[in-house]
């Protein structure tokens, strides 16, 4: 018994206590919001609790893996991910007009999900390997490594995921030291090519953007989601209508309210004060992640902790921006809040990596 408890304590000692508390706080809020959004559906709540337990377990396991081991899975994971993406392009299953899924016989799988972590891991591993002599060509190679999965996912087509994965790759290049000139030049080039990109967008993607600009043009179609979620948030006011008291939520006006539109539920029932608190929690996680990055002894740890932190907030921004009507509707869940196992596991896996970086400092130094 003492040996077992000692072992548990050692495993748990690799958790960053501040990050853990913040994550648990958000998961607690998520439980409350999903309970309200689902009308306290026992099935939903059980599923959510199982997902949370599973994801926390994954986090604990990953936090115990030393960063130097983690860095080694980057390359194989990336290669497998890209191969699977190519397989999707060739044999993938078409759902809702896009080719994203791979039927593995026992389960359907989106390889793009794998790339969310594989790409940063791959790049971080690559930049750490070349730490001693970082040259322009390394950033070029990094750019190519980013573009390959980005373009494969883009042509599925899945613009949302492609952009999110592109952003994670970009953050890594940015923290690795991508020169400002290149960033600014790229930004200007990107802005200039917007009309071209617009022309390349699919009809439904163009419609989403147009719907954002004027949701009332299509109030029963694509605009319905945005209209109802902004009404929910706006009607919440300063202090919200109270838990389980949101009329928009309880009377089914908010679509997808346990998943992508959970912020509309939260905003309606807890108001502006609640929103500030929620954004505050996310900011605290980012801040803690950046502090861990600043203190990390290895380039891999630094890059991963910083990238994953920024990446998390990017998800937050895209989701809340969409739900509150300033970004187009793309299928991005709200980190740690939305119901859904895959996204939650991926996220806490990332948190596990950050914790691993945070708690393996001394070990690495020796």
């Amino acid at each position: 018994m003492p040996r077992t408890s000692h072992w548990i304590v050692r495993r748990l000692s690799h958790l960053d206590i501040i990050l853990l508390l913040l994550v648990l706080a958000l998961l607690g809020i998520s439980l409350a919001a999903v309970a309200s959004a689902s009308g306290q559906s026992p099935a939903r709540m059980t599923g959510h609790l199982i997902n949370i337990g599973l994801a926390l377990a994954v986090m604990v396991v990953i936090a115990n893996v030393p960063p130097h081991l983690l860095s080694k899975v980057g390359l194989p994971l990336y290669v497998v991910g890209v191969v699977l993406l190519i397989a999707v392009a060739l044999f993938g299953e078409v759902r809702n007009g896009s080719r994203r899924w791979l039927d593995l016989g026992f389960m359907a799988f989106q390889p793009s999900e794998l790339l969310k972590l594989a790409l940063p891991l791959m790049l971080a591993w690559y930049f750490q390997r070349n730490e001693a002599a970082l040259r322009a060509r390394h950033f070029l190679v990094g750019g190519v490594l980013l573009l390959v999965p980005f373009l494969l996912i883009l042509r599925q087509p899945d613009l949302g995921t492609a952009l999110m994965i592109g952003a994670s790759g970009f953050y890594l290049l940015f923290f690795a030291g991508l020169p400002w000139k290149v960033i600014l030049g790229g930004g200007i080039l990107g802005a200039a090519s917007l009309p071209v990109i617009w022309g390349l967008l699919h009809d439904y993607q163009q419609r989403r953007v147009l719907t954002l600009l004027d949701p009332s043009a299509d109030p029963l179609g694509a605009g319905y989601h945005i209209i109802q979620s902004t009404i929910a948030i706006g009607s919440g006011g300063l202090f919200g209508k109270g838990w389980m008291q949101g009329t928009q939520t309880q009377l089914d006006f908010i679509p997808e309210r346990t998943t992508d539109f959970i912020f509309a539920v939260f905003g309606e029932e807890f108001g502006y004060v609640g929103a500030i608190f929620l954004v505050g929690l996310y900011l605290a996680i980012v801040a803690r992640g950046l502090v861990i990055a600043a203190r990390a002894p290895t380039p891999f740890g630094r890059l991963m902790a910083a990238t994953l932190s920024l990446n998390l907030f990017t998800y937050v921004f895209v989701n809340m921006g969409m739900v509150s009507g300033i970004l187009p509707v793309v299928g991005v869940p709200l980190p740690l809040m939305s119901y859904g196992g895959t996204a939650l596991i991926t996220l806490l896996l990332g948190m596990g990596i950050v914790m691993s970086v945070a708690t393996h400092r001394q070990l690495n130094k020796t």
Partner: protein, 629 residues
């Protein structure tokens, strides 16, 4: 791109820290945008969005009021409500209308007529309106439909209030019917700014009293304030304004008397109006043939509608109000009164009637109906014998304009103002009118025939009844009224709806007396309608008349037996009784009835008998041969 190999760990770290700060600033910027947006929605625009959330969740569900009942003077129900289940379809909610219809046809019996009617209603309504397919479902049908509801989107079984007219076809022209609110009704309601009161109503009065008393009968729509979810399902009731039911109406009309009158017509078509000369109350208002108003309540199927509409008998036309016919000899009592009042004749003035009349300097003979003439004729005899020559002369002495002005006082050429829509004004000719209408001068010969109610004259049975009522009541001009009182539903006391007196024509009593004596002589032995008064325990005053349908050539003889029925003359009769103290006035018009005395007067007698003595008509045969007129 300037990139030097990293040699200095510290400078590398310093740059990384710089990037971390930039990253933190970027995140702060994103957070500011998010919270700025949230501030805008939740604080700045909060009022707007709370309002939208409320209107999202709260819906007003109208509850239709019960329609008022219509009762006859004795409390017999003429129009009532009953609740029944109907099968209704909302086209916009169905997956495919044709499939839905055929699936329904497999579940319950749906006749082709019901489908036709449904399609007609569908073509008149919007996609989101619910249209009935079948009404009065049996319990079994309701159960079958309820069990299959899940696979028939857009199909609903609803409990609805229906109108039932149990008084039969004879009452259809009085009570009228309700029907589904169509676009035209809706537009009218909008113009009157009362469409809100019809939010829950599917039906509106279309004809008859149902139409003219719509405002009283309908009542006020109530509203349930419901909390509804996104799919429109009511979750709970928040508040309720109950509907105010429509008022019940009580008529002057006696349904029994109406039935007696109708029965007295036998196979003949025509119109009859019986009035209380003192109140203007309509005791009976018959237009034969009638029709079954129940056919219309739920939307009539196109075939039936076509057959009703195209029938040569024109059952949809209310002959009592809208049927215009030359008054013929029934105008003579009024002409006689005019001659006396205008000082053109004295009661004792008499003429010698050779059987025809000619205008000075004309060889055209205006013939009396009686070959050889009536001999010496004074005013009383001119009425009792219906002497045409007397009135030819009187008309010429009077002139068309004075004739017009005097007769106008009795309401001829003007709507009576009865509480039913759609009455005709008839036509009271004058020099002005002819100039306006035809841009032609008035010819003296036209005055001659106007004197016996022929030529341009057109009157409705209702106008004849109101004019006769003025002879009966001494010149009081009252608007005929069907409804005498209203009440809150189920309340005990009725609030009377007083009649309207339009005016009083001053008549010298002596003159009126002379005319009335003449009309009594009509019913006495020797008078034109004496046979119709035989054995009556009360005195009748009346006047027969005939309205020509086809012109008879100069010198030719009218022979009813040689004419096809539709070319026979219309028979007219006006009368009141008891003659000394009248309580009922009747005007009868029998289409192609031949002569007033033969067909019209016996009908009036049947009405008088029932009203004054309670006697139902038995062995009173209707005579169709050409009797004296």
């Amino acid at each position: 791109m300037r990139l030097t190999p990293l040699k200095n760990l510290d400078s590398e770290l310093a740059r990384f820290h710089g990037r971390l700060k930039a990253g933190a600033a970027f995140v702060a910027l994103l957070a500011t945008i998010l919270l700025g947006r949230a501030f805008y929605l939740q604080v700045v625009q909060h009022e707007h969005y709370i309002e939208r959330a409320e209107s999202n969740r709260i819906s007003l569900v109208p509850t239709a009021p019960n329609r008022g009942l219509i009762l006859d003077r004795n409390g017999r129900i003429l129009a009532e409500n009953y609740s029944a289940y109907t099968l209704e379809i909302t086209r916009a909610k169905t997956a495919d209308l044709e499939t839905t219809l055929s699936e329904l046809g497999e579940l319950i019996e749906i006749t082709p007529g019901q489908v036709r009617r449904f399609r007609r209603l569908l073509s008149e309504s919007h996609e989101f309106e619910t249209v009935p397919l079948k009404s009065k479902l049996t319990d079994e049908e309701v159960a079958i439909l309820a069990a299959n509801r899940y696979r028939l989107p857009g199909v609903e079984v609803k409990a609805r209030l229906f109108r039932n007219y149990q008084a039969g076809p004879g009452m259809a022209h009085v009570v009228g019917f309700i029907g589904r609110i169509n676009d035209r009704d809706l537009e009218r309601l909008r113009e009157q700014n009362i469409e809100g009161n019809y939010r829950g109503s599917a039906y509106i009065g279309k004809t008859g009293l149902e139409q003219s008393y719509e405002a009283l009968l309908h009542g006020r729509t109530g509203f349930d304030q419901m909390e509804t979810d996104a799919s429109g399902r009511a979750v709970r009731m928040l508040s309720r304004i109950p509907p105010v039911p429509g008022k019940d109406l009580r008529l002057h009309l006696d349904a029994e008397l109406q039935a007696v009158a109708e029965q007295a017509f036998g196979d003949f078509l025509g119109g009859l109006v019986a009035l209380d000369p003192n109140t203007g109350g309509v005791l009976a208002l018959v237009s034969k043939p009638g029709f079954d108003p129940n056919l219309f309540v739920d939307g009539i199927d196109p075939e039936t509608w076509k057959s009703l509409n195209e029938s040569p008998d024109r059952p949809m036309v209310n002959r009592a109000l809208r049927g215009v016919y030359p008054p013929g000899s029934t105008i003579k009592p009024l002409m006689a009164l005019a001659g006396l009042e205008l000082g053109l004749r004295k009661p004792t003035d008499s003429i010698v009637d050779p059987g025809h009349f000619s205008l000075p300097n004309s060889r055209h003979q205006f013939r009396d109906w009686k070959r050889g003439g009536h001999g010496v004729v004074d005013l009383r005899r001119s009425i009792s014998q219906s002497c045409d020559t007397y009135y030819y002369k009187l008309a010429v002495d009077m002139g068309i304009d004075r004739m017009h002005d005097y007769l106008a006082q009795f309401g001829l050429g003007e709507k009576t103002g009865i509480d039913l829509d759609g009455e005709s004004a008839g036509l009271l000719p004058s020099r002005d009118w002819k100039q306006r209408r035809f841009k032609q001068p008035w010819y003296p010969g036209e005055t001659v025939i106007a004197g016996i109610g022929q030529g341009y004259h057109l009157t409705t049975p209702l106008q004849l009844a109101t004019a006769a009522a003025m002879l009966a009541n001494g010149g009081k001009r009252i608007e005929p009224r069907l409804v005498q009182a209203m009440r809150e539903p189920l309340a005990q006391d009725w609030q009377p709806l007083p009649g309207v007196v339009r005016g009083q024509v001053a008549i010298t009593p002596k003159h009126l007396e002379a005319v009335r004596e003449g009309m009594m002589d009509v019913m006495r032995p020797g008078g034109t309608a004496a046979r119709s008064a035989a054995g009556a325990p009360y005195a009748i005053a009346g006047k027969t008349g005939t309205a020509q349908v086809v012109g008879i050539k100069q010198g030719a003889k009218y022979d009813a037996s040689r004419l096809a029925r539709e070319h026979r003359d219309h028979a007219l009769f006006i009368a009141y009784a008891p003659a000394e103290n009248p309580t009922i006035v009747v005007a009868v018009m029998v289409e192609n009835g031949g002569s007033g005395s033969g067909t019209a007067a016996p009908i009036a007698r049947a009405v008088f008998d029932y009203y004054l003595t309670g006697k139902r008509p038995g062995g009173l045969p209707l005579e169709t041969e050409n009797a004296a007129d």
